[in-house]
Subunit: 382 residues, 2 copies
């Protein structure tokens, strides 16, 4: 109560003061509004606008027009199934977020307003929310990467009970091109997914490591240092051992392939593909989510032909499967623009009789799929 | 290089695909542009707009008009002294951030684009940037608060070298009304300030704890659980011992008032005021930054009269100073709307001959001042 009073008093005082102290703002346009029929109404006040558009995965066909009602533009969704939804407005062509919605996430260089729909315990929206369950902690640490010649930042989720002294298995969870060490924690909702899967008894408690996968950067925006002027001394994949060394030295972990997994989305799926080849026998579980899987980036050759002309890579792949991993899991959406690359990977694995599992979902190269893939992959581990 | 190639390839592919996979976006409008004369040019593309305004602390008098050049609106600042600057655009009255600038921070319910100006080592802009120095880590943990009857989230900075096993002193750093456990880390730049002050030899290595100061919440946006329906069982100030217990049990800390400090801004300054009264002898150092210092919130009485009619509070204040703390530090801006409250506090301390130090800055109730106050207070500790 006291806080509400202070806040109200400050709002009152500040409303009469200029920008110098205007740290409190009220938005009287209610958005999002969760309607009892399962639809959601989104609003933006723009009395001067000629046209307001909306894009997002809560919008039919991805984009739509909003309707002007006395200067407040509205869009009401269809009945939405459980999910984390993202959206953004375009006011006469200029992008903006929902001023009434405090929940925003960054994806690469773009910001979206978000909300979560959940209808019952255990649905995917439920997995992405915080509930009154035991929570793990998330540390943002800096590790030394001698291979890349720089200090670099990564995020580490430790499960509930970690502070009691037991050792836990480790999942390395890799982001896509343009993402960073925050991506899996923000739009990826990793801490919430892990907390909830563990609380529901669907996943074993584990440490989840989400490094920064850009060899030329030290950290994501707001945390990054001055731009480096020299090119990285090595690839991210080659430097991955530095990450594993830090984790081994600073966390109580269970060791060996039975207790070590790696997965990633898009570029991070490509990293998973190559890191597991560089380190056969290290990972008992691998997950390629909408993965960029190529050995040669400019090549017209299919993946099988690429392996044929790259004996070293073929040997690495052979060694990877000779170590008899528990799971090599490929997941991709029917509409993903990397679908063909993954079809070629499956053809190669089939031809070589390397065992894998495949999950094909609806949709494309989107966070919705990656959250679902993580929610399916984590319960298979350890 | 490989990453750049992947990113370029994805951009190319995605540009022909619809919103389903449009996770990569390019903004061809360069903003902010740091000009060689020390000014900064900000831009937004809005060909349809009739008028575009800008607010922010990089703008003269806090707000200004932008100029249309072929649909791209620009504003060029004066030569800017070192600082972290925040700004936002209003396109025909609708707020938006700078699409060309990936750096944004949230303050209470509002989002601002930000940039940092630094001209030399050790200036305040330098303190807010990441440099090639040893970095501390930041953990986001959940602690149990029996006093409030809930699990709650807080952030904990540990200094470089913490992993070597030594114990460190602790600063509790409290946010303002509407803020949360992220506020001091984002706009407050606490991790950068501490890293840099420690690297420059200006502050001792210390643990910095930034809890969530809202007794009715468990965590900030995106991390919060479902809204609680019952009122908190106790005040935040009364629950503060739960935070100190967690820190004591989970971190290697040096104990006693010589090794324990508390400070905070606005509401957090008020928390500092009351938490230190509730726990005389616990904190050797106290910092009140633009603090909300009242004993009675609805009262017309000045603070001295409030103490006169509240013998318990007067006794607590007496006990606080009887314990001979090293520093009771009051800092406020000349234009702060809480200036009068702090003048009353000083009058009371003067009258009672309780020793304190006072720092009066320019400006109002703004983050610029709070970052500077932290940069001044931290070097005085331990």
């Amino acid at each position: 109560m006291k806080r509400l009073y202070i806040l109200a008093a400050l709002l009152l005082m500040v409303s009469t003061i200029q920008a110098q102290q205007a740290i409190f703002e009220r938005h009287d346009t209610r958005s999002p509004e969760f309607n009892s029929d399962g639809t959601v109404t989104l609003r933006i006040k723009a009395p001067e606008a000629k046209k307001v558009g909306i894009i997002g995965d809560c919008v039919e066909n991805g984009r739509g027009e909003m309707t002007n009602q006395d200067g407040v533009w509205t869009y009401t969704t269809k009945v939405l199934p459980p999910e984390l939804y993202s959206y953004r407005f375009y006011v006469d062509g200029v992008e903006t977020q929902d001023a009434g919605n405090i929940e925003r996430s960054r994806d690469v260089r773009s910001f979206m307003s978000t909300f979560i729909i959940s209808r019952e315990e255990g649905d995917c929206g439920y997995l992405y929310q915080n509930h009154n369950v035991e929570h793990g902690d998330v540390a943002h640490v800096w590790y030394d990467s001698p291979t890349l010649g720089m200090k670099r930042r990564m995020s580490i989720y430790t499960p509930p009970g970690y502070d009691k002294g037991k050792a836990y298995p480790v999942l390395y969870l890799l982001h896509g091109a343009g993402g960073d060490e925050e991506a899996w924690l923000t739009l990826g909702r990793t801490a919430q997914i892990m907390d909830n899967l563990i609380a529901l008894g669907k996943a074993k408690p584990m440490i989840v490591v989400t490094p920064n996968g850009n060899a030329s950067d030290d950290a994501g925006p707001l945390e990054t240092g001055l731009a480096r002027k020299d090119r990285p001394k090595a690839s991210y994949e080659e430097s991955f051992q530095d990450i594993m060394n830090y984790v081994k030295d600073h966390y109580k972990i269970k060791k060996g392939p039975d207790n070590t997994a790696v997965c990633g989305l898009s570029m991070g799926g490509g990293h998973t593909f190559r890191i597991s080849m560089l380190n056969p026998g290290t990972f008992g579980y691998m997950g390629l989510f909408s993965a960029a899987v190529r050995l040669e980036w400019n090549s017209q050759k299919n993946l099988e032909q690429q392996f044929e002309s790259n004996q070293k890579a073929a040997e690495q792949m052979k060694a990877l499967f000779a170590a008899k991993p528990h799971l090599y899991w490929i997941a991709i959406g029917k509409d993903d623009f990397l679908f063909q690359q993954n079809a070629e990977l499956r053809q190669y694995l089939d031809k070589m009789q390397y065992p894998y599992e495949y999950y094909e979902s609806e949709g494309g190269h989107i966070w919705r799929n990656w959250r679902i893939y993580l929610s399916m992959f984590a319960p298979r581990l350890f």
